[in-house]
Symmetry: C2
Subunit: 276 residues, 2 copies
């Protein structure tokens, strides 16, 4: 991870478009945290059109784990509302390809897999509120420690839609007791990026048995003056997609996000941005 | 309108469910402004599934005029994430039925038109922020004067999706110069109900030629100490649907909204509401 860090430090001054050009050319395939500061980064779900309506219904019903920020036209590999010349076949550092719910490969380009019936759904991610935390002097433990945020399966049932169903996956960040209210308010201002927490305190209350044994990512310590705070996690839709056993489904690899041209505040959505 | 006002004043103390029961029984068919205080009221678009994916894409790309708050399963006449026992075939005071883009009838029940391929999309409406304005002592002129809010075609192009395209329709409310900032902030807190204004001041800047000649609704006066402020309007999707010339499409009649059980703050969305 430290080697990655050194490499991507060199990329931090590039624009979103320039970072995507590096990725498209195959010169950058690491994680995207901290790149193109201020730009929206996105989780991805690419799936056949026949499942897209149900998946959008699922996202609408579960907006905290699945905040939709962009949907492509069917068969169109460009994400036209998220930026200029975003080719979803090549502009993400790493993709995961699932067939019948099984991860079959991790690749840097999906041009060979593209089909006229594929729909791309882009979802907001927690980088957005983590950046806001750091800008507001709320430390983010896993970033300080150069770890991956701890993620847990919870007992919180999702609202189903067609074949899409299951339980929410949550992230945990230890927050100082005196900053919990700020963290709540700040993350709540980004509903397109998981929004306010879903719970705080007792992990058992949401079905987490051991904070030291996350289902994904690395454990981080919660100090005595801190409270564990839980947010809906973008692994939720990935997990739900996997469990739906679609014939084909493609996601980004965790941490290897799509970097859009739009602001991470997402206030200037395409319509208003381009016309006013 | 005054007769209506008297009638519905008697309904103001009823719960959302009780109001819907009156509507379902055919005993209430007037407009719903002010009913079931605090509950979310919704614009409706009911359309064949074959067009639903494109319509949801259209809404995602144009969230200010088209803020989606609920989507039914295909063929399911119940809006399960918006409340208990909401039968969309009977629980709205008045419906408008469009065939090939032409209004063919206005009815109080659509049971005879229901089909297994219909999808209902519920969209937030401006009642939500108007209620918040009144609670914050920001007068709402058209309500004070017992008129319908003035609505205007604008030159603001919408992001298209499939057959859905066109220009935004906007409402105008005169706001006292010293309260414009408050009005902006308060409405901005309700992104599911058109959110912050899209413009203020010169109507010509957004393609409105004469504030005294709205395309729908009634003109209202803008005083010297006031500024005309414009919001995205729920007539936009209705207009876009009409122009798409779908074989069948059903909407609510203007002002005759679906009253949901969920709060108009929409903070407690289904998932979090039911499980935490």
């Amino acid at each position: 991870m430290s080697a990655d860090m050194e490499i991507y430090q060199g990329q931090r001054t590039l624009t979103a478009k320039a970072v995507r050009a590096e990725i498209r050319a195959g010169r950058y395939d690491r994680h995207t945290a901290g790149l193109a500061a201020g730009k929206l980064q996105c989780n991805l779900a690419i799936l056949p059109e026949v499942h897209a309506l149900d998946f959008l219904r699922f996202c609408q019903r579960n907006p905290k784990p699945c905040p939709v920020v962009g949907v492509s036209d069917t068969g169109d590999p460009f994400m036209r509302t998220l930026g200029d010349d975003i080719d979803i076949r090549s502009d993400v550092p790493r993709y995961r390809v699932f067939r019948e719910g099984t991860l079959v490969e991790e690749v840097k380009d999906i041009g060979h897999l593209w089909r006229d019936d594929l729909v791309t759904v882009a979802l907001g991610c927690s980088f957005t509120f983590e950046n806001a935390f750091m800008a507001n002097d709320i430390p983010v433990r896993h970033i300080e420690q150069d770890k991956t945020v701890p993620m847990y399966r919870t007992s919180i049932a999702l609202e189903p839609a067609g074949v899409f169903k299951g339980e929410m996956v949550a992230t945990m960040r230890p927050i100082h007791k005196e900053r919990v209210e700020d963290a709540w308010r700040i993350s709540g201002a980004f509903p397109h990026a998981h929004g306010a927490p879903i719970a705080m305190g007792d992990p058992g209350a949401i079905g987490i048995t051991d904070l030291n044994a996350p289902d994904w990512g690395d454990p981080v310590q919660v100090s005595e003056d801190e409270v564990p705070v839980y947010w809906a996690c973008g692994v939720t839709p990935q997990n739900v997609l996997m469990n739906a056993h679609l014939p084909l489904c493609i996601t980004h690899a965790p941490g290897h996000m799509l970097i859009a041209d739009v602001s991470e505040t997402f206030e200037n959505q395409p319509l208003i941005n381009s016309k006013n």
